[in-house]
Symmetry: C2
Subunit: 345 residues, 2 copies
Amino acid sequence: MPVGTVGSVKAVHVSELKEDIGAQIILGNTYHLYLRPGLDILQQAGGLHRFNSWNKPMLTDSGGFQVFSLTENRKLSEEGAEFQSHIDGSRHFFTPEKAVDIQRIIGADIMMAFDECTPGDADYDYAKKSLDLTERWLDRCLARFRETECPYGHRQALFPIVQGCVYPDLRRRAAENVAAKGADGNAIGGLAVGEPTEKMYEMVELVNEILPKDKPRYLMGVGKPENILEAIERGVDMFDCIMPTRNGRNGQIFTKQGVMNMRNERWKNDFSPIEEDGASFVDTLYSKAYLRHLINVNEILGLQIASIHNLAFYIWLVQEARKHIIAGDFSEWKPMILQNVTRRL
Amino acid sequence: MPVGTVGSVKAVHVSELKEDIGAQIILGNTYHLYLRPGLDILQQAGGLHRFNSWNKPMLTDSGGFQVFSLTENRKLSEEGAEFQSHIDGSRHFFTPEKAVDIQRIIGADIMMAFDECTPGDADYDYAKKSLDLTERWLDRCLARFRETECPYGHRQALFPIVQGCVYPDLRRRAAENVAAKGADGNAIGGLAVGEPTEKMYEMVELVNEILPKDKPRYLMGVGKPENILEAIERGVDMFDCIMPTRNGRNGQIFTKQGVMNMRNERWKNDFSPIEEDGASFVDTLYSKAYLRHLINVNEILGLQIASIHNLAFYIWLVQEARKHIIAGDFSEWKPMILQNVTRRL
C-alpha cells in the first residue's frame, strides 16, 4: 500500500497510482487526517475516497503510532492517550472508541484497532503491560465497531493488531487473542521499530502460525524489498511503507538490478534510461543523468519521477512474488531476485 | 511558453506538457542551465532536448536577464558581464559570443541575443547608453551566430531583442535596427520590469509597427492574462512567463470564471471540481476543497495540480485568442473574456 499520509500519496496523481503504478489499495494516516483537513471537512466531503478522488480500497491506521511517535506531552492512561498536536500544540484525546469513530468518518474500507505500539527495545514487563492494555483497547474498539456504521453506507472492516514486542510467549498470546475475534483481516504491529531484523522474521513466523490463513495478514510499516519478501515467505499478504516514496524523494531508486543513489557522481553522465525494463512510464521517458540533475537541484519533477518509479517497482515486486507463489517456485525465485534488487549500483 | 528554468517545467511531466496541457514550445534559462547541470553534461547528452526528453520546440534566453537580476558583484563592461554565481559564488564571464556558444551547446531551436535588460525606471541617458551597448552586442551575437553551427545538426534561430526602456524614440530606433537584421523572429525585451502597464502597451504598439509582421514577435516575460491579450491585440505572437507555475505553487488558480486564491477559507468546503469545464484532467479529477487542503499542508501534489491547471488555462486562453483572430471577432471577444478571467473569486 502506497502511503498517503495527509490524503495524498506525495508527488503522485491518483490517475498515476491507478494506471501507471497499478496500486490496488492506499493508506491514509488517521492522526494526520484528523488534524488536517479535519473531520468536519472529511465528513462534508462524504469521506476520504470522495475527498481525494481515490475510488479504490483504502486503509487507515488508528492514529496510535503517530500519537506515540510524533506528539509531545503525551499522557497514556487506561482510558486512552492525551497529546499535543505536532502542528499547533493543541491538546487532543484519543481513545479506542474515538479512533473507531474517527475512522468511520474518514470512511476507509479497512480500519485499524487502536493499540500501543510497543517500542522494539521494551523490556518484558513493559511489553506485557503494554499488551494487556492493547488487548483491553481491542475489546473496546470491537464493541464500538459493532455499535456503529459507516456514515456513507459502504462496508468497513476493522483489523485487530498483534503486539507483544520480541517476546515469543507474548506474541503467541496476542495472536491467539486476535485470531479468536474472527475479524476480516489481522495485522502484526510493533515490528520494524528498532528490534533486530532476525527477531522480526521470527515473530512474523510465530504469529502467522496462529493467525487464520484465509484472512489477509498485514505486516505494518514494513519495509525494504528484502523484508517484504521474507515476510511474504512467512505468510504475510499486505504491507505499507513510506520507503518507496520517502527514500525516492531523497534520491534512492530501487530497480530490478539493484539500488541507485541518484546523488552519486556516478550517474552524472549516464544518459541511459532510469530502468530499461522498468515498471513505469518514467523509466524510459527520462535518463539517470536527468533524474540525478533534478534531484541535485531540488526540482519537484525529480520527486515525482522518483516516487512513481519506486512505487511501480514495489508493486511489480509483490506482483512477481504472487506469480511465483502460484507457480510454486517462490523459494527458488526469492534468493535470486534478492541478490539482484539488493545490490548497490 | 511554459518556463523550464533548470531544464524541467516545475512539477510537470513532459508527457503532461504535451498531452494534457498542449504546450507547443517551452523555455529554458541559459544562466541556470549553464550553472547546473552545466555545459559538459548538456553536450554529452546531445543537447537539452535529449537531456530532458522534450522533443518539441524549445527556446533559451541569453542568460543576460538572470545575470542582471540574480547575481552579485556584477561588473558590466563593453566586453560583457562578469558575475558571481548565486549558487556557490564562483566567478563567470558572459560575452555576446559566449552567450551564443552556450546556447549552441544547449541546442534550443530558438536562441536569444545577449542584451542588457534596461530597468523600467532608467532615465533617458542610462537607457540610451544601455541601448547603444545592446546594439553593439547584437552585432557581435549575429557575427558569432553566422560563424557557428548547432553541434547536433538541427537548425537554430537567433532572435534579436528590442530594448529602449519607455522612451519612444529609443524603442523606435531599436526596432528599426532589429528589423533590419532580417532574423527568423524578433523579441521585445525590457518590459514588465517595473514600468507602468500603459507604458508597456504603448511601447509594444510602437515597436510592432516596425517589426516585420510575417515573423514571430515575442514579448519576453509577460505576463498576466490581461497583459497577454492586450499584447496579442498589438501584434505579439509569443510569450513566456513563470506566472502560471509560480503563482500556481503559491495557490493562485486562473480559471475561465476568474482567479481563486486557494489559501482562502472560502474554498475549505467547496467540493465542486476545480473547474467544471477546465482545460486539464486535474480540473474534474480533484475538487477545490481538496486542492485547498493540499496547498494548505504543503503537499507536493498540490503544486502539481496547480501547475498543470494554470498552464492548461494559459494555453487554452491563447488558443481561444487565435480562434477569435481568425474568426475576425477578437476585439469583441477580448473585453468579454477579460471581464471573466480577471474577476476575483
